[in-house]
């Protein structure tokens, strides 16, 4: 039951609800205006993000792509409230990222699955639910539901070491989905997996996105992955980390794997590659 004291109640209110009727443009969930972030290090200041402006709408699948050091992970961590920008304005669900984090507005998937070895798969998915104080019955119901969603039904009682790397990463996605946040932030979640498993997980992720209607922020350094998954591709470049191009994908939402051979797909991939090259030409 959702009551006004339930964090989910607040999560869903800003920007949507009765005002956003059918046909209206989807509301902006994440808004960045001239975001700057400078790290002070022993070697002097490092300009991790410079003048980053971006709007992410509800239901978008946004990929951040660029070479290492371009600030794509840093920007995702800023959205998550794990880093604090030193300049500009960043809001998530109309709140500061810090407030949004405290309101548990998003699920975060890291590059490594990071499952607790002493918990079963079910126990790992249950972790956020225990922390957020869901009832025992609801925990069990949600664990079963999200494990089913990532195709891991029946693995609830296995320990992480009994699963392959791809299955572990799916379990970590289930863990991020368990508490029904609207936003899913993924930091190179499939970066450590081989290409065959990666293809498979990409396909599953699209299905998951279609079914759950989440807003997804996805960091990658694979061009095909970015083009295949995204409705919006953000191309970034390093020193200082900044956005060089934002590409609205013209691909349909329904995407079989062989869409990657169509001229439309190849054209978008080409534009991403051009954007990455332009970023490098500045060096």
């Amino acid at each position: 039951m959702v009551t006004s004291s339930d964090p989910r109640f607040f999560e869903n209110t800003p920007g949507e609800g009765p005002l956003a009727g059918p046909g209206a443009a989807p509301p902006t969930i994440i808004a960045a205006k001239s975001v700057d972030l400078t790290f002070q290090t022993g070697d002097g200041p490092v300009h991790a993000l410079k003048d980053v402006s971006l709007d992410i709408n509800k239901g978008d699948f946004v990929s951040f792509i660029g070479p290492s050091g371009c600030g794509k992970t840093t920007f995702l961590r800023c959205i998550a409230g794990l880093e604090t920008p030193t300049g500009g304005k960043l809001t998530v669900n109309g709140m500061s990222p810090e407030e949004a984090r405290k309101a548990r507005a998003y699920g975060y998937v890291f590059q490594a699955a990071g499952l607790y070895p002493w918990r079963t798969i079910g126990g790992n998915v249950k972790l956020p639910l225990e922390i957020m104080g869901f009832s025992k019955a609801e925990q069990a119901e949600r664990v079963a539901r999200v494990l089913d969603l990532v195709d891991l039904a029946g693995f609830e009682k296995k320990f992480p070491w009994q699963l392959s790397g791809g299955m572990q990463q799916r379990a970590s996605i289930a863990r991020a989905l368990a508490f029904d946040a609207d936003i899913l932030l993924m930091d190179e979640p499939f970066g450590a997996l081989d290409e065959i498993v990666r293809d498979h997980l990409n396909e599953q992720l699209l299905q998951l996105w279609a079914r759950t209607e989440k807003t997804i922020g996805f960091v990658t350094h694979s061009i095909p992955e970015a083009v295949y998954l995204s409705t919006k591709i953000v191309v970034m470049s390093p020193r200082p980390g900044r956005i060089t191009d934002v590409i609205e994908s013209t691909l349909p939402r329904e995407r079989p794997l062989d869409i990657r051979d169509t001229p439309e797909f190849i054209a978008i991939a080409h534009r991403v590659r051009d954007g990455l090259r332009a970023g490098h030409a500045d060096d």
């Binding site: 548990r104 890291f110 607790y116 002493w118 693995f155 392959s164 791809g166």
Partner: protein
Amino acid sequence: MVLGAGVGRSAGSISGKMMGDAVRSVLPILTVVAVLLGVWMLSVVPMNIHLAADQAQRDGVVVVPDTPIARQDVGAVALALRNPAVVPMTYVLDRPRLPGPQQVAAELWKTTFGVKVTSKKSLVYHGWVTLSATLLGFAIGTTLGIALAVGIVFSRTMDLSVMPWAIASQTIPILALAPMIIVMLGSLGIQGLLPKAIISAYLSFFPVVVGMVKGLRSPDGMQLDLLRTYHASASQGFWKLRLPASMPYLFASLKIGISAALVGAIVGELPTGARAGFGARMLVGDQYGQPLVTWAALFAAAITAAVLVGIFSLAERASLKRMGMVR
């Protein structure tokens, strides 16, 4: 979908594998034990030959040279070679300089199983005296160690202030400190179990502090970030992440701690005039020229330590297995 991949290992091969493991791990230990026993057996002859020659002469055996003073000038090996008949006697002396392994084993057997448990000669009685102080001290030391480690991990002030003192505490020789603790507590009217337990605790808290600080800090940045994304409280982070992650470190520390606690209890028995306990038996054997008593107590203490460490190893295996951290 690659659902089956990497799942389920056959249980059938496990027992066979464990047998192989047992043989592989026991064989090197037995080899070392055999070498040590051999060296010991060989050393008994030169160590005891002068005493044995004196004894043989008193029993009417002809020995060369024929006076104790003349024999002093002859090397132990030479004396043994010139009096081969005396050599077997080196293994059966009542008060040898170095008792043979079989003598120590016999004394150990006799004083463990051959006398009533309530007797002052029983190693079981003395063992319990030492063990009770060891266990009490270990409990105090472990509790203190875990508490300090939690404080050190969660408070920067404690990290800076407590850790250097914990390290400094272990640089003071316990032999110098033990009599002071016994005497000071004695003057306050505290005697018996507690002063020894405090010395045990003093030695055993340190490995627990060091191990637990490392264990509680073992979760990496990603795992801590994950908890931040859930807006988890510090106590949730402790109970759900830091504490379970520290378990392997805790068991390693407990195994070091329990043997340190036993040493502490024995050292604590030495300065009191030693009425009971392994430490008392060692001292009594030394002072009254009964090396067999000293050696039996020494071995009884070593066996006790091995058993205690073994118990913790089993507990470690069982609990890590239950936690799914052993494959």
